[in-house]
């Protein structure tokens, strides 16, 4: 009795797992780059400078530089604006609408990036 329950459970797990794999696989095939919602700030650069995410994704910027930076939308009105991020501080924003969102560091305006939401 126990063994059959065990086997049933295992089968269910496997099926679920395969189902999940299937979903993951579909997304992987659909987008050209691996899904990532992280932007690393280092050496006066946003990396990656252009990030594509699906609608509803949350992007997190982490400052790994030894100087503070900000993440400020260049749209008017601003779509988002972080406070000053010192080393290791983070800022997150959830993109609920499709579109292209250019931004820059308001302290070092030569630093620019964009998030493409689709």
């Amino acid at each position: 009795m126990r063994r059959s329950v065990f086997i049933a459970g295992l089968a269910a797990t496997l099926l679920l797992g395969m189902g999940a794999l299937g979903v993951g696989q579909k997304n992987f095939v659909a987008s050209a780059q691996p899904e990532t919602t992280e932007v690393k700030i280092d050496n006066f650069t946003f990396g990656p400078a252009a990030l594509t995410v699906p609608v509803g994704a949350t992007v997190t910027w982490t400052n790994k530089d030894d100087i503070p930076h900000t993440v400020v939308s260049t749209d008017d009105p601003k779509a988002f604006k972080s406070k000053v991020l010192d080393t290791d501080e983070k800022f997150s924003f959830t993109f609920s609408k499709a579109g292209t969102y250019p931004y820059f560091c308001s302290i070092h305006p030569k630093m620019t990036g964009k998030v493409i939401v689709q």
Binding site: N43, F44, D66, I67, P68, I107, K110, T112
Partner: protein
């Protein structure tokens, strides 16, 4: 130190008693601690170590002030874990000058993160400097989070708009400009329409023989645009100053000394009292540059400026903290 500069006037183009080539030669050794003064049309040079031998009148002329910059109070990374200590060393250097400067200019990035305690610490340290008057302009690190409200409350009394102002000392006209607000993506420093209009009006009625000193955080000439080391609309500002026989522009932001002479305008940037930055293009980015601990004080510094009444150009001398 390099050989003594010739004392005679070689080419007095403007008939104002200033020999530009001699001046340039002298400026070239400013980094080694040379001290140049124009007195009676003759360029005299002294090494800083000999300053104590000179009488005050002989050495300094009539107006003397000091520029410090980029104290970045609150910075604590490896490039300098003790920016309060190096600022104190800068104050000691200022207090050790043989002729005490009348006042100080701070060309911005007083604080590192615009925190109240950071401004408080700088105010405290500067209290022990002999020159009691300090004139400030903000750096981009001083106007974070609040569009400069705190900076203006602390240092902006009597200033206009984003914190610009002017004052006179012994016949020299000083103009403090703000080029770190409303920065646009991909852009450089910016002065903006209102400030430029104010500047045009401010200098309109001054005699062309009035020596002008302009001080602002980001360089007003194009040092290295790729790193944001320049000001988009500075040409318009300089246009308003074209009529003057002597214009000295003092900036900070780039954490190294640099100089350029263009006609009657001498552009000069000061070292930081906190940490150095790489020379243009010599690194991936303009971040804090680490040097061996024992070398740190030699790449930080102050700038001593002197004006002799009747002579147009100001003598600008950098000295490092060690």
């Amino acid at each position: 130190m390099a050989g003594k500069v010739k004392d005679e006037i070689l080419h007095d183009h403007n008939q104002d008693g200033v020999d530009r080539r001699g001046f340039l030669k002298c400026m070239a050794w400013a980094g080694t601690g040379a001290f140049c003064v124009i007195q009676g049309g003759v360029l005299k040079s002294y090494s800083l170590s000999r300053l104590s031998e000179l009488g005050a009148k002989e050495a300094m002329g009539e107006l003397s002030f000091v520029q410090i910059s980029d104290s970045h109070m609150g910075f604590n990374k490896p490039a300098n874990p003790d920016v309060a200590g190096t600022l104190k060393a800068a104050v000691d250097k200022i207090n050790g000058l043989s002729v005490p400067p009348e006042f100080m200019l701070h060309t911005g990035d007083i604080s590192h993160l615009s925190k109240p305690e950071e401004f408080d610490t700088v105010d405290q340290i500067l209290k022990s400097a002999k020159p009691k008057d300090v004139f400030y302009v903000p750096g981009e690190h001083d106007v974070l989070n609040d569009d400069g409200k705190q900076f203006l409350e602390r240092y902006g009394k009597g200033s206009k708009g984003g914190g610009w102002y002017s004052f006179d000392k012994k016949g020299v006209h000083f103009v403090g400009l703000v080029n770190v607000m409303n920065l646009k993506a991909g852009g450089l420093g910016t002065l903006g329409h209102d400030q430029l209009e104010w500047l045009e009006d401010d200098v309109k009625h001054l005699k062309p023989s009035t020596p002008i000193v302009v001080f602002a955080h980001i360089p007003l000439w194009s040092v290295y645009p790729e790193w944001g080391w320049g000001t988009e609309d500075s040409a318009q500002a300089l246009g308003y100053l074209k009529k003057f026989g002597s214009v000295t522009v003092l900036n900070g932001h780039i954490h190294q000394t640099m100089q350029k002479i263009e006609g009657n305008v001498t552009f000069h940037t000061a070292a930081s009292t906190a940490f150095p930055q790489p020379a243009p293009g010599k690194a991936d980015s303009p971040g804090p540059m680490k040097v061996p601990a024992e070398q740190l004080k030699s790449v930080l510094g102050i700038t001593d400026v002197n004006h002799v009444q009747g002579q147009h150009a100001l003598a600008v001398v950098d000295s490092s903290l060690a």
